[in-house]
Amino acid sequence: MSHETWQEQLRRGSLDLAILLTVSSGPRYGLSIIQHLEAFTDLVVTEGTIYPILGRLTREGLLDATWVEGEAAHPRKYYRLTRAGSKRLDHMKREWREFADKITRLIDAAEGHDHAAH
């Protein structure tokens, strides 16, 4: 696997979590979600591909989507976390932290070994 492929898989693998985290603080519409993600991460490479993911998360029952008219010049589709989405997010956060801790420990151990060898 090339380094680019690995990076791409890492990015794709974290997008669901990133989107759920973004809407966990309150309802947001598509562009607002994208702008939030762009402000904190570089996970969004092509803006248009975020919408299909939002659609899938909605179909899976993790997000709830509602069109709101009159708030802006054009209707906006707002997404909010459902109860199932909130539960899933808690699991994902816990698993992410555990995973990151394990990899960090592995990196520390490897670097410690390198330092000892030198």
Binding site: T46, I53, R56
Partner: protein
């Protein structure tokens, strides 16, 4: 930013291509909703670019960041068709998802080829089971000089070919067809599920 007629045409052209591409794979209500959401995104970004001097440059930048319509349509199709096929297991969504993968990935094409053969053989057996009671003298096992050379329907039966096999062929063909169909369908669903696990966007 208030768009000129040229700018409006560019936006409408983008949405038109997107809609046409989505219609290939998705139900019309899903297409309408998706196009409406992408248009909302575009209008919002265009409105935010108020005061920009060059409409064409700004518009191309916005559309570029959104992604080519075919790329966006592909992402929609991948998310929707494969999910529906894996979740429901229904025949039409499965065929639709496999067709989509065949059109977009090399291994999807190979998979679609083998699945097509599987489904075709299954339907051939079903056809034999249905045709046997209607054309009992044309459907069965074909023998030439006492050796079996084929199984199926022949219209008309060629000279020198004798037909064997009674009505027991009906349940046999139906069972074979069902077995091959279920096996092929399960294989397709499993492959799609595996593909879904590997992709995210």
């Amino acid at each position: 930013m208030q768009l000129t007629d040229t700018g409006e045409s560019r936006v409408n052209g983008y949405l038109f291509v997107l809609e046409r591409s989505l219609k290939t794979f998705l139900p019309s209500d899903t297409v309408r909703d998706a196009v409406r959401e992408i248009e909302s995104h575009l209008r919002e970004r265009i409105a935010a670019a108020d005061g920009a001097p060059n409409e064409r440059v700004v518009l191309e930048q916005i559309l570029g960041e959104l992604g080519p319509p075919l790329r966006v349509a592909q992402a929609y199709s991948a998310e929707r068709t494969v999910d529906e096929a894996v979740a429901t297991g229904r025949f039409v969504p499965t065929v639709r998802a496999v067709t989509h993968l065949a059109a977009t990935t090399a291994w999807g094409f190979v998979l679609a080829f083998w699945l097509f053969i599987g489904y075709a053989v299954a339907f051939a057996f079903f056809a034999i089971a249905i045709l046997k009671p209607i054309f009992p003298n044309n459907v069965g096992i074909q023998f030439v000089h006492g050796f079996p050379v084929g199984f199926g329907a022949h219209f008309p039966l060629e000279p020198g070919v004798e037909l064997g096999g009674g009505y027991w062929i009906v349940p046999l063909a139906a069972a074979c067809g069902l077995g091959i169909f279920v096996g092929t369908h399960r294989g397709a669903r499993r492959m799609l599920a595996r593909w879904r696990e590997r992709r995210v966007s």
